[in-house]
């Protein structure tokens, strides 16, 4: 039965009509393309009048297919699908072809643009004939949510959802939630005490009836899709019975093994083999670090076990796999610091009094290893001069091309703390001073007033090789002061390297598990950089905070809240529509070669041993179509993108290519269309 196709070519005001002869194309389509019953052009197809026109035609003319030539399907596919539905046509029998973004907006020559638009319309008309009615699939949204990462962004998301009455599983890989913010003394630009604003949120999350806290735990595996993800979490063994422990801390006190704390104290202080990372840790349940515990080393000690009043120490505890089901996932895994040793000329690791920014955070933290006293590595000398080097590993093509965004402000914060606590001179070596958030520039002005010195230039070297008596025993910072155009040497006692924010080591791997991708650097890719900054290309997976790109605390919090709002919206709605674009295998014709089995990144294809054929698990298939292209027997169909449809589209797009040869005869037979 021949189809009755309606073709609608949009002017988009002058956006399309200005470069493409829309009236002529509409007329041409009506006269020259088979099965076109109605062909019209209209000022604004997407307007309610335009939609009405389509709806009326479908009803009056009994159209069976609709082609719209207008803007990108990413903009208005839904609009025109809805119009078709309203008129009782299956929405998947419509094709929107893009003659604006892909044509009128980008081509100079009117006749060439018109020819291209004509080809695109022709392609759509050929394609649409083969489109098949599809039923959108709906799935229930599980109201529980998984939040990965318990830094400030993840905490914010957790609390927003929990307060709204929804259950949250918060997974944090370290023994306590809190993230990097827990390590800071003060936060710019207001200089609030970091712990004072962070720890209440931590304990709230720890005590919330709607929050299941899984610390010292990591994501093992994710399956399923939006609305109903199945997640496996690995709860690493703490060697402590979580429920029995009261958090009294006697075990920590009595543990004889002291080790360098490279995590929370950034190597500036020690901890025990059994430890809580910091006094306000949530949960207040210690963990045994099996790599440093004497028992695990040589089967001696067990002091903690003997002294624990509740018998909570369990040396034989094993990792536990916990299965949970959630409707949505929020990833908030934050950042990791740049390894300053990668820039050997700055001397970190070789010159004792060169510090990383995180080391300095601990050094000036009132709760840190020196109780906030700013002293050099010898533990007593107060520095008389300090150099702060900006952009270490940022804005540097050898390391990271991007600006880490927060280092200028953190440098100013350090400057303020040093000037407040000591009489030292503070120099900032900056390339550009970037203070473009609320109250940031004011903070910079304030530091100018407080006497911090600013040298504009990129530091070339930090050395202890003195050339002059005044440089003896000092660290010399070599830098071209670009404002006066001269190489200068600045002898100082201490150097702080403002290292870049980098993506977590396992960002890509975690992204892969959750089905989202990273930029070249390793920051998670948002669905749209401006208009959809916390959603990702995978429905039901959201990102928040610095794992999406460097940012400060306010922006991380805003994203945490935004991601929570998006999830709450989905939960409230209760159901999500998923596009029925999935693959299916004609099991009668499948030869059982298993080629497709390895093609699918979601393991959506199973092999049925009895029949020796493969089958697509619809719920897992995301519709990429790779298996469809790979099946040598051509027996996999990709819904809405099947071979017939695409072959027809190619044929339509090249309608003019074969004209001169005038051999219009049996083209379709030339390449045997492997069964769609």
């Amino acid at each position: 039965m021949a189809e009755k196709i309606g073709v609608y070519v949009c002017h988009c005001g002058s956006n399309i009509a200005g470069k493409v002869d829309v009236e002529e194309i509409a007329q041409w389509a009506g006269e020259n393309l088979d099965d076109v019953a109605v062909s019209r052009d209209y000022k604004f197809m997407c307007s309610s009048l335009g939609q009405q026109m389509i709806e009326d035609d479908i009803k009056k003319e009994k159209l069976t297919r609709v082609v719209v030539g207008a803007c990108s399907p990413h903009l208005h596919e839904k609009t025109f699908r809805r119009a078709c539905s309203n008129a009782g046509m299956n929405p998947y029998l419509m094709d929107l072809t893009n003659i604006r973004e892909h044509c009128s907006w980008v081509h100079k020559d009117r006749s060439l643009a018109t020819e291209k638009a004509r080809a695109l319309i022709s392609a759509a008309v050929q394609r649409v004939k083969h489109q098949e009615p599809l039923e959108p699939m709906y799935v229930d949204v599980n109201p529980a949510t998984l939040v990965i990462g318990g830094g400030i962004a993840g905490l914010q998301a957790t609390l927003e959802l929990a307060d709204a009455g929804y259950h949250v599983y918060l997974v944090e890989r370290l023994p306590s939630i809190g993230g990097h913010m827990a390590q800071f003394d003060k936060t710019f630009p207001t200089l609030d005490c970091s712990a004072c604003i962070l720890t209440p949120k931590m304990s709230e999350a720890g005590q919330h009836e709607n929050v299941t806290l899984l610390t010292y735990a990591e994501l093992e595996e994710v399956s399923g899709s939006v609305g109903s993800f199945k997640v496996k979490i690995r709860q690493k063994s703490r060697c402590v019975d979580y429920d029995a422990c009261t958090g009294c801390g006697i075990c920590v006190e009595k543990c004889p093994r002291k080790v360098l704390d490279t995590e929370f104290e950034a190597g500036m202080g020690n901890r025990k083999a059994i430890y809580m990372p910091f006094p306000q840790a949530v949960p207040r349940v210690p963990v045994i670090d099996q790599d440093s515990c004497i028992w695990f080393e040589r089967q001696k000690c067990r002091a903690c076990e003997k002294l624990c009043p509740t018998d909570a120490i369990k040396f034989d505890q094993e990792d536990e796999l916990i299965d949970i089901e959630v409707g949505n996932i929020i990833i908030a895994t934050g950042w990791k610091p740049f390894d300053s040793k990668k820039i050997p000329q700055y001397g970190y690791g070789r010159l004792a009094n060169v510090y990383t920014s995180m080391e300095f955070e601990r050094l000036c933290n009132a709760a840190g290893p020196t109780n906030g006293k700013i002293v050099m590595r010898d533990g007593k000398t107060v520095p008389k001069s300090i150099a702060i080097v900006h952009c270490v590993g940022s804005r540097d093509d050898r390391h990271n091309p991007y600006c880490s965004g927060i280092c200028c402000m953190a440098a100013l914060k350090f400057g303020h703390l040093v000037l407040e606590k000591t009489d030292a001179e503070v120099y900032s070596f900056y390339i550009d001073m970037r203070t473009n958030q609320k109250n940031y520039e004011e903070f910079y002005q304030r530091l100018l007033g407080e006497g911090m010195r600013f040298v504009r230039g990129k530091v070339s070297e930090v050395t202890d090789a003195a050339r002059m008596p005044t440089e003896q025993g000092k660290l010399i910072v070599q830098c071209e002061d670009t404002l006066i155009g001269r190489q200068q040497r600045y002898p100082v006692d201490m150097v702080i390297l403002m290292g870049a924010l980098e993506p977590q080591e396992d960002a890509r791997e975690l992204g892969l598990k959750c089905g989202i991708s990273c930029s070249m650097e390793g920051w998670y890719t948002e669905r749209h950089p401006k208009l959809d900054p916390v959603a990702t290309m995978t429905d039901g997976v959201f990102v928040a905070g610095t794992c999406q790109g460097p940012k400060d605390i306010p922006a991380s919090v805003a994203q945490g809240a935004a991601a929570a709002a998006r999830v709450a919206g989905m939960i409230t709605k209760g159901k999500v529509m998923i596009e029925p674009i999935v693959a299916s295998i004609n099991e009668q014709a499948c030869s059982g070669c298993k080629i497709c089995n390895n093609m699918c990144p979601y393991n959506a294809i199973e092999f049925i041993e009895e029949t020796e054929t493969s089958r697509v698990i619809t719920a897992l298939c995301k519709g990429c179509g790779t298996c469809v292209a790979a099946c040598p027997a051509g027996v996999i169909t990709g819904a809405h993108f099947n071979n017939k449809q695409i072959f027809a589209e190619i044929e339509g797009a090249l309608w003019d290519a074969l004209q001169p040869a005038a051999e219009s005869s049996s083209q379709a037979e030339t390449v045997p269309a492997s069964a769609s």
Binding site: S72, H107, C624, P632, F641, I650, L654, A657
Partner: protein
């Protein structure tokens, strides 16, 4: 055919998530480029069946463009690597049959790279213009067989490469 400037006809298979959006972005940013690529949207570059490419050549395309997300950024995790393998194989095979390399190109363009995609299209159109028409569609009988033979080789190759126990 006419002696005017030769305007090649190119079929472009663009993945829905990155490169199609890059073309959208080129549009909203009004980055002018050559009008020779007729875009066919596929969900992923991994969907591009070698027979799509053959079909396009057999119907008179002078060149075929395949565009997808950057390696590591495919919306379906890693399917563009599969596209890449197929592409190289296809290009080799086509070359053996006398089709110049420039007539089949693979371009990575993220959704933010409208400019890069436009430049790649311009470059490709220039190169194909230099080569002139492919003219495979000229002789139907013979090429029909050639294409069939090609397809068979490609499929065989794929099978050999892709079955990993």
């Amino acid at each position: 055919m006419s002696e005017q400037v030769f305007e090649p006809k190119i079929v472009g298979f663009l993945c829905n998530w990155c490169s199609y959006r890059a073309a959208d972005l080129a549009g909203s940013a009004r980055i002018t480029h050559a009008p020779n690529v007729r875009i066919v949207r596929v969900m992923c570059s991994g969907r591009v069946d070698p027979s799509f490419v053959m079909k396009a050549f057999s119907l008179g395309a002078d060149a075929v463009l395949i565009a997808g997300c950057h390696p590591g950024e495919c919306h379906y995790i890693e399917q563009n690597y599969k596209a890449m393998r197929r592409f190289h194989m296809l290009r080799q095979t086509l070359k053996a049959m006398g089709v110049e390399e420039q007539r089949i190109q693979l371009v990575w363009a993220s959704a933010a790279e409208g400019q890069q995609l436009a430049e790649a299209i311009d470059k490709m159109v220039d190169e194909v213009r230099q080569l002139g028409p492919l003219g495979w569609s000229g002789n139907w009988e013979e090429n029909g067989e050639r294409i069939q033979a090609l397809e068979d080789i490609v499929k065989e190759h794929e099978q050999a490469m892709e079955v990993t126990a």
